[in-house]
């Protein structure tokens, strides 16, 4: 039973990684950039929800909605101000800018919210699930996190295959110039992807802090890096890959924590990435890129 509980907790943590990784992978797919500030959007989302619920006394759902709206706007603004002017710049410049945005967000949070950790009260006030005569307890947060991840995956898949905007997004990811020749406005499509990714990051932040309730300006950076690892593990640019990579990574992390060592759990996670990059650099579901000579 213990291992089952660990796997479910791992899947729950992994669902958070998956939701964050979706943002990474979609932005990478369309803008061909690694948005290292993505993890810090999670932190901003969690703070917005925290402020709405703890300081303004709003109901949890209102906190979630405000947080999603806030992060969506933040994503669009960051893209417009920091990344759009670098559209045709070398990718290293964009990468450094993204790291700069990451520091900016962390330090802005430090100034506004202070350095002391805030205790995030879970937005999910449901009793834990008891299975097998109480031998297996699953927290409601874990169930809802996994459900949220599944719903988001299905919604995103439908969006990218059935809607005009979603198909335009795939077209832009594949060939930006050709998409422009179809009459697709590439700038507004990229803007939309940042909006979706950042809105999802807000949800991920709230779900994560509901399970692990310490909230500080640096809360987003480690999950951000792990989600990036998940995106690479699954195959960066691939939406199902991000989900698969995220869930796998979460399970690996929790199992490593339970059966190997709490201290070494993170090292195990990153070791998985290194092994993956050595064996199959394109990731689990990524398409190998043939070098053209």
């Amino acid at each position: 039973m213990e291992i089952l509980a660990n796997i479910i907790n791992g899947a729950s943590l992994g669902s958070v990684y998956a939701i964050i990784a979706l943002g990474y992978t979609m932005v990478y797919g369309i803008a061909k950039m690694l948005n290292f500030a993505h993890g810090d959007v999670i932190m901003v989302g969690a703070y917005i929800c925290f402020c709405a619920v703890s300081y303004l006394g709003l109901p949890a759902l209102a906190g979630v909605v405000l947080s999603v709206i806030g992060c969506t706007v933040l994503g669009i603004v960051v893209e417009r101000l920091a990344y759009k002017p670098l559209r045709n710049a070398p990718s290293l410049n964009v990468l450094i800018t993204a790291i700069g945005v990451s520091y900016f967000l962390q330090n802005a949070a430090l100034i506004i919210m202070g350095s002391d950790p805030k205790s995030f009260s879970s937005i999910i006030a449901l009793p834990a699930l008891q299975l097998f005569d109480g031998r297996l307890t699953i927290s409601a947060t874990a169930v809802i996190t996994i459900l949220a991840c599944v719903i988001i995956m299905v919604a995103l898949t439908l969006f990218t295959t059935k809607t005009k905007m979603g198909k335009a997004m795939r077209a832009c990811s594949e060939d930006r110039d050709a998409a422009q020749l179809m009459g697709i406005n590439v700038n507004s499509t990229i803007s939309m992807v940042f909006a979706i990714g950042s809105g999802l990051a807000a949800i991920a932040g709230i779900l994560m802090c509901s399970a692990y309730p310490t909230l500080m300006p640096t809360t987003g950076s480690m999950p951000g890096i792990k989600a990036f690892t998940a995106a690479v593990l699954g195959g960066i640019g691939s939406i199902p890959g991000a989900a698969l990579g995220g869930v796998l990574l979460g399970i690996i992390e929790i199992l490593a924590r339970a059966y190997i060592s709490t201290q070494l759990a993170d090292a195990v996670v990153f070791a998985v990435l290194i092994v993956m990059l050595l064996i199959r650099p394109a990731g689990l579901l990524g398409k190998p890129v043939n070098e053209k000579v």
């Binding site: 198909k167 077209a171 594949e174 422009q180 020749l181 009459g183």
Partner: protein, 233 residues
């Protein structure tokens, strides 16, 4: 229909297009021929808004499109089939055609799709197939079909015969003529000067970024300089 006046395009420090002027009239097939690197594709990319000219003017149907973004230019009916086809490899044939109709109102899509399948019955057979698995000729047909979905008034084709077997080249040129007869004006960029000039109303010869010669398709086909340089004597 299209008048290009004195455009100059740079790639960084390289002056790729130098004072190029030409025009395309309603109902014509105009061929732009020249060797590799002469600036033909650059010219088309500038017309469709992917590249910018530093001077001069580009007028399409009497509106200035020189500063218009690429997506607005497509809306006006100036549609570009790029070199190398550039179809969306991971999307299905029909999704590719849908993308071609991105600027079109919903009502016209079904009838356009029918028209494209009439011109290219092969695409209808393969509508659910992933485009990257099509043969070269089919991919070229898809690229042209996708452009037709945008209701072009002027269709710009960049090297439609590139990399195709002679029998397919013939077929592609037959389709170009059929599209022309159905009322589409065509600007054709080709290295296959023989094939291009023999169906063209008029033609221009480009060399290292400038237009060096112009005339009717037949005149150019029999011009000594053109014969020496592009038609193998």
């Amino acid at each position: 229909m299209l008048s290009v006046y004195n455009i100059n395009v740079w790639y960084g420090a390289i002056h790729a297009i130098k004072n190029v002027s030409f025009e395309v009239n309603d109902g014509e097939i105009v061929a732009l021929i020249g060797a590799n690197g002469a600036g033909k594709s650059t010219t088309l990319k500038t017309l469709s808004g992917l590249l910018r000219s530093r001077s001069g003017s580009i007028k399409f149907m009497d509106t200035d499109i020189m500063h218009a973004p690429a997506e607005k230019i497509v809306e006006q009916g100036l549609v570009h089939v790029p070199e190398g086809r550039r179809i969306f490899q991971q999307m299905t044939v029909e999704e590719n055609l849908d993308m071609g109709a991105y600027t079109q109102p919903k009502e016209t899509i079904a009838s356009n799709l029918e028209r494209v399948y009439e011109h290219f019955p092969r695409l209808a057979e393969r509508r659910r197939q992933i485009a990257g698995t099509l043969s070269g000729g089919e991919q070229q047909m898809l690229a042209m079909g996708r452009a037709l979905m945008a209701n072009p008034k002027l269709l710009m084709l960049d090297e439609p015969s590139m990399g195709l077997a002679p029998i397919l080249v013939e077929q592609i040129f037959e389709i170009i003529q059929a599209l022309h007869q159905a009322g589409t004006t065509i600007l054709l960029v080709e290295q296959n000067a023989q094939a291009a000039l023999s169906i063209a109303t008029r033609g221009y010869v480009m060399e290292t970024g400038t237009i060096t010669l112009s005339g009717s398709g037949q005149d150019l086909l029999h011009n000594d300089d053109v014969r020496k340089a592009y038609l193998g004597g």
